[in-house]
């Protein structure tokens, strides 16, 4: 058997199955006409192929489809029951989802607005404090002064209490 024969032998099954490209089919067929050993191998494979191909196929039981259909219907009913149990009405989960979205949105909206109102209240306190402080100057005019509203004026003076004069 030549190298060429070995290559062709590998393709004999594909040739038999009609799985070779037309050019390869032509080449191998031409080779089979001149090569006795490859032709014998081909015939031998074809013989067993035909034998195997003639094996009787078995038939399924007549009730097989009924069994399959029943199993499909049962599975479907089970799935339907679970769905009804978990989601009795399609609008229930939709409504629940909508409510959830609304709650989440209002929470996000409320938190910054509360911060804003806190800031405004603080500004108002400061402004009134400044006005009150300015009134102490006697002219009633509102002045902007560098004043620390948080300073404790009643603080005891610094000094060493143990120091003797």
């Amino acid at each position: 058997m030549t190298m060429e024969c070995r290559i062709y032998t590998e393709s004999l099954t594909a040739l038999m199955d009609g799985e070779l490209p037309p050019d390869d089919t032509k080449t191998i067929r031409a080779h089979l006409l001149v090569c006795r050993s490859c032709d014998a191998e081909y015939r031998s494979l074809l013989f067993s192929y035909n034998l195997v191909g003639n094996i009787q196929l078995i038939d399924s039981q007549p009730a097989a489809w009924t069994v399959i259909e029943n199993r499909i219907r049962t599975a479907r009913e089970k799935r339907g029951f679970l769905r009804r149990l978990l989601f009795p009405n399609i609008w229930v989960p939709v409504g629940a989802l909508g409510t959830l979205v609304l709650v989440a949105a209002s929470v996000f909206w409320f938190i910054p607005s509360q911060n804003k109102s806190d800031t405004q209240a603080m500004q108002q306190i400061l402004r009134s404090y400044i006005q009150e402080r300015n009134r102490e100057f006697g002219d009633g005019a509102v002045r902007v002064v560098n004043y620390n509203p948080f300073r404790d004026n009643n603080r005891r003076p610094k000094g060493n209490p143990f120091k003797t004069e």
Binding site: D17, L45, F47, L51, G53, N54, Q56, I68, I72
Partner: protein, 215 residues
């Protein structure tokens, strides 16, 4: 010889053997829950799937059960099938997975039938005498046992591709999709499997192998 070759090739069904538009319509109907459409699909593919599983497992009862499992599973998962025209390959893959699952990832070891014990001719099997052509060939029970034994003795990966190619007559492309191996690997495995089966049949038949009146 050409006629015989033609016959061998023409038996092959490269696709499912059904009009793709019809198949598409049936699968779409089944996807929307139409059991009647699915029953039609069962009518088209039920026997093929049954025989595929039967040749893999060697047990008729197992094959019946697994075939039913395959179709129930297929109906449940129809939505996952993207290309309707590939329904057949998809179904064969489900069947194959069912077999693997049943046997925990390993193909079943089929008990071999000793053909030599059952024959009365001292180990030589008598072939059917009268055969006019491939269509008329009727295998004797013993001869069928020989073929089944040869299939059973194949290694796992060869058995799978052998059954799909020689018995189911699927195209190499479809076989490649079902077994999840490359086309080149499938082509090579099919050839090796055929040679092994041929050698085993030859061994059992002895001098009778290749009798021209058989095909």
């Amino acid at each position: 010889m050409k006629e015989k070759e033609h016959n061998a090739a023409s038996n092959r069904t490269p696709s499912s053997g059904i009009d793709p538009d019809r198949l598409d319509a049936l699968v779409n109907s089944a996807k929307s829950g139409d059991i009647t459409a699915f029953s039609e699909l069962y009518g088209l593919y039920g026997k093929k799937i049954l025989n595929y599983i039967f040749r893999l497992t060697g047990s008729r009862e197992e094959a019946e059960d697994l075939m039913q499992d395959t179709f129930v599973l297929a109906f449940k998962n129809l939505d996952s099938l993207k290309e309707n025209v590939k329904f057949q390959s998809w179904l064969f893959r489900i069947a194959q997975n069912s077999v693997f699952q049943k046997y925990r990832g390993k193909m079943p070891q089929i008990e071999s039938i000793d053909v030599h014990d059952s024959g009365e001719s001292g180990g030589v099997i008598e072939l059917p005498a009268s055969s006019k052509g491939p269509e008329d060939t009727v295998l004797s029970a013993e001869l069928e046992k020989i073929v089944q034994k040869a299939i059973n003795e194949l290694p796992e990966k060869y058995r799978q591709v052998f059954v799909l190619s020689a018995l189911q007559r699927l195209s190499y492309q479809e076989i490649s999709e079902i077994v999840g191996r490359s086309l080149a690997s499938v082509k090579s495995d099919i050839h090796r499997a055929r040679v092994e089966v041929r050698d085993k049949i030859k061994e059992y038949l002895g001098d009778d192998y290749g009798m021209s009146n058989l095909y």
